[in-house]
C-alpha cells in the first residue's frame, strides 16, 4: 500500500458539454500532485465523449467514470469518494463544479487551509470575500443560504457562511466516511452538518465564484422550496442519530 501523496479533483458532470472544456483547461495549471476525475452522471448530451477526448490532451491524469443512469449530484460526488477509496493514493479530495463557477486557483488555497489548520473539511465560501461585484447567487438563494447557515450555527455551534457551497476540500477522515454514506440529493449542507456533529474539523476560506458557463442548476423554482424543507428535515433528523464518524 502506497502512502497517499496525491490529491483528487472530483468533477460531477451532468449535461455539461458546453462548460467542461473550459473547466478542464482551467485545472491544467494545478501542480503534478493532482489528478482529475470527471464523473459523468448519466448525461444525455456529449459530456462523456467530450470528457474522454479531453483526457487525451490533459497534462494532469484525467479519469472519466460514466454512471449508466442519472443518480443526482450526491451519487456522482460519492462515486468520486469511492474512486479515491479504491485507488488508495489520494490524501485530499476536492469537489469542483463542471459548470465553470469555481476558481481553479482556489483549490490550492483549500488544500493549504486543510493542511495548515488541520481541517477535515474546508469549504470555499463566496461570502467571506467582501469585494464588490463578486458573484454570490440570487437574493432568494442568498436568503436560503443564510437560513441554513443560521440553522447549522445554532445546532452545531459552528459559524459557517456558505453551507451550500459545492466547492470543498475533504481530508481523509471526511471523505472515507463520505464514501460509505453521503446524502443523495442536495448533499452539501447535510454533509457539512454531519461533519460538525461528528466532531470533524470544519473551516472556510474565501473564494471567488463565477456565473455558470453552461448547463442548468439542479435547484430551480419550486425545487428551491423542496430543497429547503428536505435539507432542514435531514439536518434535524441527523440530530437523533448516534455519532457515526470513523475514528481518526
Amino acid at each position: 500500500m502506497c502512502v497517499p501523496d496525491k490529491n483528487l479533483v472530483v468533477i460531477p458532470a451532468y449535461n455539461e458539454q458546453a462548460s467542461l472544456p473550459g473547466t478542464i483547461a482551467a485545472l491544467q495549471s494545478l501542480p503534478d500532485s493532482f489528478e482529475l476525475l470527471v464523473v459523468n452522471d448519466g448525461s444525455t448530451d456529449d459530456t462523456s465523449r467530450l470528457a474522454r477526448e479531453l483526457a487525451g490532451g490533459s497534462r494532469l491524469p484525467l479519469h472519466v467514470v460514466d454512471l449508466p443512469l442519472n443518480g443526482g449530484i450526491g451519487v456522482a460526488v460519492q462515486t468520486g469518494y469511492l474512486f479515491a477509496a479504491q485507488a488508495g493514493r489520494f490524501r485530499y479530495v476536492i469537489q469542483f463544479d463542471a459548470d465553470g463557477q469555481h476558481d481553479a486557483q482556489a483549490i490550492l488555497t483549500l488544500v493549504e487551509a486543510c493542511e495548515d489548520r488541520h481541517l477535515d473539511l474546508c469549504l470555499g465560501s463566496r461570502f467571506l470575500d467582501a469585494r464588490p461585484g463578486v458573484f454570490r447567487s440570487t437574493a432568494f438563494r442568498r436568503a436560503g443560504i443564510r437560513f441554513l447557515a443560521w440553522l447549522i450555527g445554532v445546532l452545531g455551534r459552528t459559524h459557517v457562511t456558505d453551507p451550500t457551497s459545492g466547492f470543498r476540500c475533504a481530508g481523509p477522515r471526511a471523505w472515507r466516511d463520505f464514501a460509505q454514506r453521503y446524502p443523495d440529493d442536495y448533499p452539501e449542507p447535510e454533509s457539512l452538518y454531519w461533519c460538525i456533529r461528528n466532531r470533524l474539523r470544519v473551516g472556510e476560506v474565501p473564494v471567488r465564484m463565477f456565473e455558470r458557463v453552461g448547463g442548468r442548476s439542479s435547484i430551480r423554482s419550486l425545487r428551491s422550496l423542496y430543497y429547503m424543507v428536505k435539507v432542514t428535515l435531514a439536518i434535524a433528523v441527523d440530530l437523533l442519530r448516534p455519532k457515526e464518524a470513523s475514528q481518526p
Binding site: M1, C2, D5, K6, E35, V39, A55, S58, L60, P61, L62, H63, V64, V65, D66, L67, P68, L69, G71, V75, Q78, T79, L82, F83, A85, Q86, A87, G88, R89, D184
Partner: protein, 128 residues
C-alpha cells in the same frame, strides 16, 4: 348487498389474487404475507360481522367510521412499508450503479494499459 357480503367477496378476491401473483412469481412471498393477512382479516369480518360491531362500540365509533378507520390503517401501513422498501432498494441500486461505473473504468484501464500509463505514475498505480 350488505357490507359483510362485500367484505367476504373482497377477502376471497384478495386471497385468490395474492396466491395467483405469488404462483406466477410476480410477488415475493415476504410481501404476500401482508396481503394474505389483510385478505384473511376481510374474510373474518365478512364471516363474523359482529366483530367489527363490537370494536366500533368499544371505540365509540359508528360502524362506517370503524370500517373506514381500519381500512385507512391498513392502507397507511402498506404504503409506509412500500416507501421503506423503496428506500432500501434505492440505496442498493445506487451502490450497484457506482460499483458498475467504477468497474467499467477499471476494466477500460486494464484493457487499454497504454492509455492509462500515459497518465499514471508507475509508483502510484498500486491499488488499495
Amino acid at each position: 348487498m350488505t357490507a359483510e357480503r362485500l367484505m367476504l367477496i373482497g377477502g376471497v378476491s384478495a386471497f385468490l389474487l395474492t396466491v395467483y401473483w405469488v404462483r406466477s412469481r410476480r410477488l415475493r412471498e415476504r410481501y404476500a404475507i401482508g396481503w394474505l393477512t389483510l385478505a384473511t382479516a376481510l374474510l373474518l369480518c365478512g364471516v363474523f360481522p359482529n366483530a367489527i360491531m363490537r370494536v366500533a362500540e368499544a371505540a365509540h365509533l359508528s360502524y362506517a367510521s370503524a370500517v373506514l378507520f381500519a381500512a385507512l390503517t391498513a392502507i397507511y401501513c402498506f404504503a409506509f412499508l412500500v416507501t421503506v422498501s423503496l428506500t432500501r432498494q434505492y440505496r442498493q441500486s445506487t451502490r450497484l450503479l457506482q460499483e458498475l461505473a467504477l468497474l467499467k473504468h477499471r476494466l477500460s484501464e486494464l484493457e487499454n494499459p497504454q492509455a492509462a500509463d500515459v497518465h499514471e505514475d508507475p509508483k502510484t498505480t498500486e491499488r488499495a
